[in-house]
Symmetry: C2
Subunit: 477 residues, 2 copies
């Protein structure tokens, strides 16, 4: 039956290059033959079979459900003890309790991991990244029915490994070499980082091309695209998130906590006051929840920042903190500073005979911007995930967290938020690190080192920072 | 008829969360009903309609052909004059002549563009990038039948624009500011480059989410993935290629010429001597063509490098060449150097009482490595493209070049090659640019500038390049 659907090579060619086919009136013999062939395929497709070449019915809405309904989904049936204890509650409340318990459990374990310090936290980010990738790839394999090509899963994991090395190779090896106090630790992995990444990728690419199997081409290419988009979304964004951790734990914790707060408070406000639906994609979301969540997030974010800002553990850039052994020069964002007020407000202040300035921690301003992003644009990450789930007829990405679903169900907004914070830091906060620049100069040839030195000397003299004889001039002067 | 295939909301939910359905024996009433529904859908699908929600038959091999066969394909029917002149030839030779003429035309116009200098060349790369993107997106729109959601095409182009700004923003604006001799030319586009890119992307993302339309979800997400993979492939790789141009024209020309040579010579060797098939994906490719192509590529590459290396126009890094007005210090890769021979060979030289060294241009060694990559791994880019075309039942990506097909048909291997050259340059050639490092130091605060200066001073003194009083010590000493 499979061969009936697969026209011989020559025929495909001919049809693909040929012009417009002769118009067929409904019910013509040719048309009926086509239809009969399709029916045969439909029959074949409705039987549960894991290996079907492209040429059979590939998917329609029903078959998508058929394919994805076996995937693990959130359920309220948790452990026996909890289950029987909750059995007397009505379902809506039962779900509420399960969700509540596991929300607390997740937040609790998150706090525990944070207390262990940045290394544990990074490992946590990796674990979450792997699980999210696993969830999305599992859906892909189900949608494209590629279970019977076993190395396809292996290939996906190989690409995950490769892209992780590409993104994290340089920064993480650097970090571990500081941590382990070995200057040349795995140095070749840094020196040839790009070349090794590329070689690994080309190997995977060649593997993919050699693995192409007639009758599976379309699905293999689709899954190739699927896994690449997943990698792009998950690996690159978790890289950005880990960069945020390096900048100081607070840059990671405050955004994460704000998204959690926004999720919870939108749910709570929606639960109690929700009336006006927000968007068709997620029928449970309401304007009341959205607005309530936004307000709560801003207030919560400012409070949390205000508390965390007091501790070097949270505000110090990670490598400096580790190198200098639990100390660092507090970055300027966390030191109170005088700001001049803008025009209309400063005018009022002047009328009141007050100085038109205000003392603020710059980081609180940053928190405000992040809170607004978290509560206004963050939810679009969630809408995107909802749309994706609807497209493939699944309710959740998995079943690891009872009452919540898969990890991706909880981390959809975190990724977008992490990227925003990274871009924000890059644009407004991070400045080139003096120590790193000196290191880069030392990689040059002696000639060029001297060249840099002279050029720097000339410019510093011209700017009045240095006297002609090399004496450093007072900056106040 | 459309509504019959789209179950109501509640039903979908229920089915998605429910367990395994009751087993249906073939021929049961439920089964027959399902089948009848499918037949109705098949009927609907075989009619030519451009707007069909996800829930109808989506695609199978026949419908893929049905969808993609309207796409433009290479044909031998060119202009009238050429056509009638060739009409007496047998088809195989006719195709050969058309191919030959347009190969010459393409190489000719390529040489013309190169003579105009790097700016024209970069614009050429952009033009090719746009056309390749257009070809792939057109196939995607055909496969997913999304013609009736007109802004989807707009969204794809928007993402193309955004990713181009992201990749090229910094380097190209920098280049144009040198070219136009305006130091602050569009400076805000550089200073806020990441933030602007991210904002543009988020805007597109929100646009996509808001554009999701019930019944189209699956195809919209598929095309989203499709366009992202295309962007990843085309924009990022053409960025790498333009970086190669900046390193010096020769780093762009030699690899491109080698891929062209490899293509032509494989074709010629295959045409005359081809017997043993190489890979199932491309039945026309033979081992004889592969090996003949590889040999020719190595020889041609070395010859071409040897010729081009003599001209500053080809070997100078582009910005230095433009800044210093058609001159530069020739990079060391293009200056003859003495190499010590490795053990077994050096032993023979010693027996012959000769110096065990050899004088070589390092670039010829680089060319050899690139030639091997071009001829051994380059073809996999082509196999990948062949597999892709087979998956979607198209013969060519387009019809812009008579006898060849679409642009993507000619540039499939160039992308992979360009990436390899970029990685190679990054790993073995490019060293941090002294002038850029000084510029980065000048972006620091005055305090930090002094910090860098002192730290650099100390290190240079320690390494014996500088005396304590700041005198530069002779490097020879």
């Amino acid at each position: 039956m499979a061969s009936s659907g697969q026209p011989p090579e020559g025929e495909v060619r001919q049809r693909a290059t040929g012009g417009v086919p002769a118009k067929q009136s409904p019910g013509s013999p040719a048309r009926n033959k086509l239809l009969a062939e399709h029916i045969a395929k439909v029959k074949a497709a409705t039987e549960v079979s894991e290996s079907e070449p492209d040429d059979r019915l590939m998917y329609n809405e029903d078959s998508i459900e058929h394919l994805t309904k076996g995937l693990p989904q959130a359920s309220d049936n948790v452990m026996g003890a909890l289950d029987s204890a909750l059995s007397s509650l009505p379902p809506k409340w039962r779900n509420w309790v399960v969700r509540f318990i596991f929300t607390c459990a997740m937040i609790g374990s998150f706090v525990m991991v944070v207390r262990q310090g940045p290394s544990w936290l990074m490992m946590g980010v990796f674990a979450i990244q792997f699980k999210c990738f696993h969830e999305i790839i599992t859906i892909g394999l189900a949608v494209y029915r590629l279970y019977d090509l076993p190395w396809f899963r292996a290939l996906s994991w190989y690409f995950l490994f490769t892209s992780n090395y590409f993104f994290f190779g340089e920064s993480l090896i650097d970090y571990w070499s500081i941590l382990l106090r070995k200057e040349q630790f795995l140095h070749f992995l840094i020196a040839y980082h790009r070349l090794i990444s590329f070689a690994l990728y080309v190997l995977g690419f060649v593997w993919f091309v050699l693995s192409l199997k007639k009758g599976y081409y379309m699905r293999q290419f689709s899954l190739f695209a699927w896994s690449h988009v997943t990698l792009l979304l998950i690996v690159s964004q978790s890289y950005l998130i880990i960069q945020n951790i390096f900048q100081g734990l607070v840059w990671f914790l405050v955004p994460v906590a704000m998204i959690i707060c926004c999720d919870i408070m939108s749910y709570v406000f929606g639960f109690f006051f929700g009336k006006t639906p927000l968007i068709k994609l997620s029928p449970k979301k309401t304007w009341e929840g959205f607005i309530g969540g936004a307000f709560s997030t801003v207030i919560f974010g400012l409070l949390l920042s205000f508390i965390l800002m007091k501790y070097p553990f949270f505000v110090c850039p990670v490598d400096e903190y580790v190198e200098a052994n639990t100390e660092c020069t507090i970055p300027s964002s966390f030191q109170i500073r005088e700001f001049a007020l803008p025009r209309p407000i400063s005018f009022i202040f002047k009328l009141l005979k007050k100085e038109p300035t205000i003392n603020l921690y710059p980081f609180l301003g940053h928190t405000l911007v992040m809170a607004l992003f978290a509560s206004i644009l963050g939810p679009f990450g969630g809408f995107f995930a909802s749309g994706f789930k609807r497209a493939f007829k699944i309710k959740d990405f998995g079943d690891v967290i009872p009452g919540h679903g898969g990890l991706m169900d909880r981390f959809d907004c975190q990724l977008l938020m992490g990227t925003f914070v990274n871009v924000y830091i890059h644009t407004f906060i991070r400045i080139p690190n003096p120590a790193k620049l000196v290191q880069q100069i030392m990689w040059l040839s002696p000639d060029e080192q001297i060249e840099v030195y002279q050029s720097l000397f000339d410019k510093l003299v011209r700017n009045g920072l240095l006297a002609e004889n090399g004496t450093i001039l007072s900056l106040a002067a």
